[in-house]
C-alpha cells in the first residue's frame, strides 16, 4: 500500500479500496499542514498544472487552485467561456496546445461524460477528473468520505443516504462507488423520476420516503436539484419537491437519532435543505469544503509521485 494503482484519477470506479485509503491517509497529513502558520510545502515546485474548466465551477476550481498553490506547483487556468473553444477548436487540440507549453498535470471539468478518460488515452499528462457530465466527480466523493471518516471513524457498515437529484448527479455516482468500496451501505432517496432506472444493479437500495430514509441512515448527503441539466419537467414544482424531499429543522429534530448532514454545494437554501439545517451543528458542509483542499492536495501529490 505504498502508491496509487493508477496514473490518472478519472473516477472512483477505476481505483481500489487501498487507493482510497492511501488518499485519505495522506489527506490527514495535509490537513495538519493546512493548520500550520505557513501552509505551504514545496513538494510539487517542479510541476505545472493546468486547470481546464469547460463547465462552470466555484468551489471545485478554487479548491483545486488553492491545493496546487499550497503544494508550490505552477498553475495555469483556463475557462471555456473566454477561450478558443468558442471558435470551434476540438478538445484534443485545445489540450495539446496547452501541453505544448510543458504542462505536467491537467485538472479538467467537462460537460461530457467520459471526457477525462478520453483525454487520458490521447495526451501525455496526468489527468484529474474534476467532474465529467453526469458521470463522476471523484475528488468530491473522496472529500465526502474523508469528512465522514473524520466524524464516524471507519465507514465499514455505516449507513449513508444520498437524497435528491440522483439522475443528474455525478456526485451521487462517485459517492456510491467510493462508499461501497469502503464497506458502507448506501441508500438513494428521491422522486422516482430523478432516480436512474437500473441504479439497484449497483447494489444500492432505493427509497422514495424521506422520513424513512433519514430514520435509517447515519449520514444524509443532500444533493442539489440540478435545474440546468433538466430539459424536461421531472417534478411538478420546486414547492412540491421541497414539501416532499426538502429537509427542515422540524423533520431533523423529530428523528430518533442525531444524523450528520452533508451537501456538496452550491446549496439552494430553502429547496433541498432549509437555512437552519444548513447552519446547524449537525451539518458538516463547511468541513467538507475545508477538507476538499487537503484531499485534492493528497490526490495530486500521490499522482505526481508516480513515474
Amino acid at each position: 500500500m505504498s502508491n496509487l494503482s493508477v496514473n490518472h484519477l478519472l473516477g472512483i470506479k477505476y481505483i481500489t479500496k487501498n487507493d482510497i485509503q492511501l488518499i485519505l491517509d495522506t489527506a490527514t497529513n495535509f490537513k495538519e499542514v493546512l493548520n500550520r502558520p505557513i501552509k505551504k510545502v514545496p513538494s510539487l515546485r517542479d510541476l505545472t498544472v493546468a486547470n481546464l474548466f469547460f463547465e462552470n465551477s466555484t468551489r471545485t476550481r478554487l479548491s483545486f487552485e488553492l491545493a496546487q498553490k499550497r503544494l508550490s506547483a505552477d498553475v495555469v487556468n483556463f475557462s471555456a467561456s473566454s477561450s478558443s473553444v468558442k471558435k470551434g477548436e476540438t478538445l484534443i487540440d485545445t489540450v495539446n496546445n496547452i501541453l505544448a507549453m510543458k504542462v505536467d498535470m491537467v485538472v479538467m471539468r467537462h460537460s461530457s461524460a467520459g471526457a477525462a478518460e478520453f483525454l487520458s488515452k490521447k495526451v501525455n499528462a496526468k489527468i484529474v477528473n474534476a467532474g465529467d457530465g453526469a458521470h463522476e466527480h471523484p475528488t468530491q466523493a473522496l472529500l465526502d468520505a474523508f469528512s465522514m471518516r473524520e466524524k464516524l471513524g471507519d465507514l465499514k457498515g455505516k449507513k449513508i443516504a444520498i437524497v435528491g437529484d440522483i439522475l443528474h448527479s455525478r456526485v451521487a455516482l462517485s459517492n456510491i462507488f467510493c462508499l461501497q468500496k469502503m464497506g458502507a451501505e448506501v441508500k438513494v432517496c428521491g422522486p422516482t423520476t430523478l432516480i436512474p432506472k437500473y441504479i439497484e444493479s449497483l447494489g444500492v437500495k432505493v427509497e422514495t420516503d424521506l422520513r424513512k430514509t433519514l430514520e435509517w441512515c447515519d449520514v444524509a448527503n443532500m444533493l442539489r436539484i440540478q435545474l440546468e441539466r433538466q430539459d424536461i419537467k421531472f417534478f411538478p414544482s420546486i414547492r412540491e419537491y421541497t414539501m416532499l424531499y426538502g429537509l427542515d429543522k422540524t423533520l431533523l429534530d423529530s428523528l430518533s437519532k442525531k444524523i450528520i448532514i452533508m451537501h456538496p454545494g452550491p446549496i439552494n437554501r430553502g429547496v433541498e435543505i432549509t437555512s437552519d439545517v444548513a447552519d446547524s451543528d449537525q451539518s458538516i458542509i463547511l468541513d467538507q469544503v475545508e477538507n476538499g483542499v487537503a484531499v485534492r492536495m493528497a490526490v495530486m501529490f500521490l499522482l505526481a509521485g508516480r513515474q
Binding site: 505504498s2 502508491n3 495522506t26 497529513n29 495538519e32 499542514v33 500550520r36 502558520p37 505557513i38 501552509k39 505551504k40 510545502v41 514545496p42 513538494s43 503544494l71 501529490f301 505526481a304 509521485g305 513515474q307
Partner: protein
C-alpha cells in the same frame, strides 16, 4: 560479511546519557529549548533523550515529531509515505535541537530545516545524531552532538533498532 554491532544496551545507554549532559552544558535547564525528532526513525531517539533529560532535570522538556516527506528533494525518485507531524508548542525564538538517528548524506536534515521553518523562526538550531557516517555528505551539514562517528562505504547500511519497535536497543553496520 556478518553484521557488526556498533552499540548495544549498556553502551548505548552510556552514549545517550553523555549526549544529555552535553546538551545540558549548553542549554542549562531547557527553559528556552525544544527537541524535534525527524520522522520516521529519529523520533525514538528524540523521545529517549527527552525522557533522560526529564529524569536529570526533574522538569518537563518539550519534544515534537516532524515529518519531512513533503519537503524532500528526492520525492518522485522513490515512493514515500508521509508520517505524522506532532508539534504542540511554538518554536518562534526558541533554541531547537533537531534529532535524527543516522547522519548520512545530510539531505534529510536539509529537508528537516525547511519543514521546521513552517512552524516559526527559531533562535538557534542545532543537530544531534546517534551515528555520524562521515565522508559521505552531499550537502554541507554537520552535527553538533554526535553519539558515534563511523567510517563506512556506500554499500554499507547502518541499522538503528529501538526497544519500542524492534524489541532491543542496538546499532549495527550491515553490508547490503
Amino acid at each position: 560479511m556478518k553484521p557488526r554491532v556498533l552499540l548495544e544496551n549498556k553502551q548505548l545507554e552510556v552514549t545517550l546519557t553523555r549526549l544529555c549532559y552535553q546538551l545540558i552544558e549548553v542549554h542549562n535547564d531547557f527553559s528556552n529549548t525544544v527537541i524535534i525528532g525527524l520522522q520516521p526513525r529519529g523520533i525514538y531517539l528524540a523521545h529517549r533523550i527527552q525522557k533522560l533529560l526529564e529524569g536529570i532535570l526533574k522538569k518537563k522538556v518539550n519534544c515534537g515529531d516532524l515529518d519531512i516527506t513533503f519537503y524532500r528533494d528526492d520525492f518522485r525518485k522513490k515512493e514515500l509515505i508521509p508520517n505524522r507531524t506532532n508539534i504542540d508548542f511554538i518554536i518562534e525564538d526558541k533554541n531547537v535541537i533537531l534529532v535524527d538517528d543516522v547522519l548520512f548524506t545530510g539531505r534529510t536534515i536539509r529537508a528537516g530545516l525547511d519543514a521546521m521553518l513552517a512552524f516559526g523562526r527559531p533562535n538557534d538550531v542545532e543537530l544531534l545524531v546517534l551515528v555520524d557516517r562521515r565522508f559521505s555528505r552531499h550537502v554541507p551539514i554537520q552535527a553538533k552532538y554526535i553519539g558515534l562517528v563511523i567510517d563506512s562505504i556506500q554499500t554499507q547500511n547502518v541499522k538503528v533498532e529501538w526497544t519500542e519497535t524492534d524489541k532491543k536497543d542496538r546499532v549495527t553496520l550491515i553490508d547490503k
